[in-house]
Amino acid sequence: MHFGIQNIIFILVLGVAAFLFARKFGRIWRNIKMGRNIHRSDRKGERWALMGRVAFGQTKMVKRRTIAGFFHVLIYAGFILINIEILEIIIDGIFGTHRLFAAPLGPVYDTAINFFEILAVLVIISCLVFLWRRNVNVVPRLKDLKGWAKADGNNILIIELVLMIALLTLGAAEANMEGSEAGPWLVSGLLAPIFSGVSQENLVIIERVAWWAHIVGILAFLNYLPYSKHFHIILAFPNVWYSKLDEKGRFSNLESVKKEVELMMDPNADPYAAPAEDAAPPERFGAKDVTDLNWVQLLNAYSCTECGRCTASCPANITGKKLSPRKIMMDTRDRIEEVGKHLDQGSEKPAEDGKTLLDDYITREELWACTTCNACTEACPVNIDPLSIIMDMRRYLVMEESAANQQINMMMTNVENNGAPWAYPQADRGNWIHEI
């Protein structure tokens, strides 16, 4: 084959796909940067090691849910390795060559393609298993996915099936073509008899259709990602890199509150001191909307693939309360997207549509059901932290709105007045000593 109209079309398709993806990616990046600043670039060595283990090595995927973990690793390995071939496809597409790497690589090329084809079969099997688990024998944690969330999961699996079938069809058609310099390969060779009676002209057409279906499918899939939960295949890596490295029990100390309390406790502080003229307006305590969250929390929301392991391990959810950590992440992403749309339409300030993450997406009842047990953060295969969002929203409720319920208020009053959550006098704190 030589450079021709097909290659011009290919270059155009490739260019448009790359442009659209870059534009959408840029918008998501901008949305994530709406979040408050947080320093998460320390301890770089640990972060790379963690990313290697958790994101690349998928240790948390296979830790407890072995069946899902096993098939996920197959799809993941298939995805990463088969896509090495994309390089060749793109070069062939641009220059009108055919299997450019086959001749120079020789037997290495055949081994690689054989390996990719085996992976393709494993990916097909895994996708079928996952479709089964999503639609026929539905896994409990996937049951409450409705509407777009449910369709999204199926779309991804179907696109992956189509891509793999196109890849194998390509090889099978080629195996029947006269003068074919490469192949036949392991799996497509076995499938070759399907096309045995087909004329040479039609084989060329089948081969071309499969080739185009494969590459256009990949480019379409690339552009589907930013709208889908499947975006995790890219963001899981930075998401794990920027994880919280401290003990799970350690919650952040709010710097803004620390300053206030230090002033209160400092006998030398001037109680009438006015803030400096150029001082920034004070930050809201806690989070009412997505712009009050930090950018790692927003990155978390875009990295969530809605697997529901967090919700399945949440004690509140297990016992029938409304709280679902997965919903916290999905709501956060939906709200970021909504705010992002206002920015796309030229709005100066991100969130002035009268809506907020609190109440319009996440209810107070959900927030108060959390026991802060860290089961969700432990369960998440990509180290998403729904608990930090719940905590920041509780902080807003209590410190900005004084909206805790009566029992919580009673507990806080007691702590404030007598240094214990119950109404016992502080002077009696050592009484037990005399009871020994």
Binding site: T319, T372, P421
Partner: protein, 264 residues
């Protein structure tokens, strides 16, 4: 057998006598005021006494670490509690703290350092293990030999701080049969008390969390449910109350198991 009275000095008493303890026992609110949790406090004091540990408590100078306030979202109140406590602790030049409450443990160990309170903080289960290693204490097994004991992981000890083995080590030393629940260690299910839930009614749902967890404990057919947190203890005790094992299944802190086994 009530032997001679154990002397529990406060920091103020120690200071005025010109003495310094090796370790401060941070009792916590539950351990100071709650009748059930006070038994845990006393059991641990007996262990400290038996091992000849030079310890002291703060007594009336101790105050809530601020954990429930912080987890409820009241960062202001938490910081005020923390800074006051740090003033007291630093004033006494405290360097080592041991506590029987995983919530106090977590807050003192993880959240105070940034605010100026830097101490070596241990949970009592790790501390007792250390006493055993140093030969200051020995366990013979005794009353719990061969008994089926299941251990409930407190969230702020286990997942919160990665301590799963210290309490289990102690149970094994009792020659007891440690039986694990379906969800244990990093997969452990919360008792339902954390995040200030202890002090409020739960939200509407199908079931209370402590009931769910107690049912899971009952599946292991235990003779004893072991806990290592005063709040978990309360929740599991309440869970057992409504069950068919009411009255025949004690919920005990690991420190109590040891104190009883050694007949302290």
């Amino acid at each position: 057998m009530e032997a001679e009275k154990i002397n529990v000095p406060t920091m103020a008493e120690m200071m005025s006598a010109g003495k310094k303890p090796d370790v401060l026992f941070w009792v916590g609110c539950a351990g100071s005021f709650d009748d059930r949790a006070k038994k845990i406090t006393k059991a641990f004091v007996k262990i400290l006494d038996r091992a000849g540990v030079n310890f002291a408590v703060l007594g009336a100078e101790e105050s809530c670490t601020g954990d429930p306030a912080k987890r409820a979202g009241n960062e202001f109140l938490f910081m005020m509690q923390a800074m006051q406590n740090i003033q007291v602790l630093n004033g006494y030049e405290i360097t080592r703290i041991v506590t029987a409450c995983p919530h106090c443990f977590n807050t003192l160990k993880n959240e105070y350092p940034e605010l100026g309170g830097q101490y070596k903080v241990m949970h009592h289960t790790s501390f007792i293990n250390q006493l055993l290693e140093e030969g200051k204490l020995s366990i013979e097994g005794g009353a719990y030999k061969g008994k089926r004991i299941t251990f409930h992981d407190p969230c702020y000890l286990g997942r919160g701080n990665g301590i799963y083995e210290a309490p289990r080590e102690l149970i094994r030393k009792l020659d007891a049969e440690l039986v694990e629940m379906r969800r244990c260690k990093s997969n452990g299910l919360c008792c339902g008390a954390g995040g200030a839930q202890m002090f409020k009614e739960p939200e509407a749902g199908k079931k209370d969390i402590n009931v769910e967890r107690t049912e899971e404990a009952l599946e292991t057919q235990p003779d004893v449910i072991a806990a290592a947190c005063p709040f978990c203890n309360t929740m599991m005790t309440d869970g057992v109350k409504g069950s068919k094992r009411e009255g025949s299944l004690p919920v005990l802190d690991v420190a109590e198991l040891i104190a009883e086994a050694e007949d302290l």
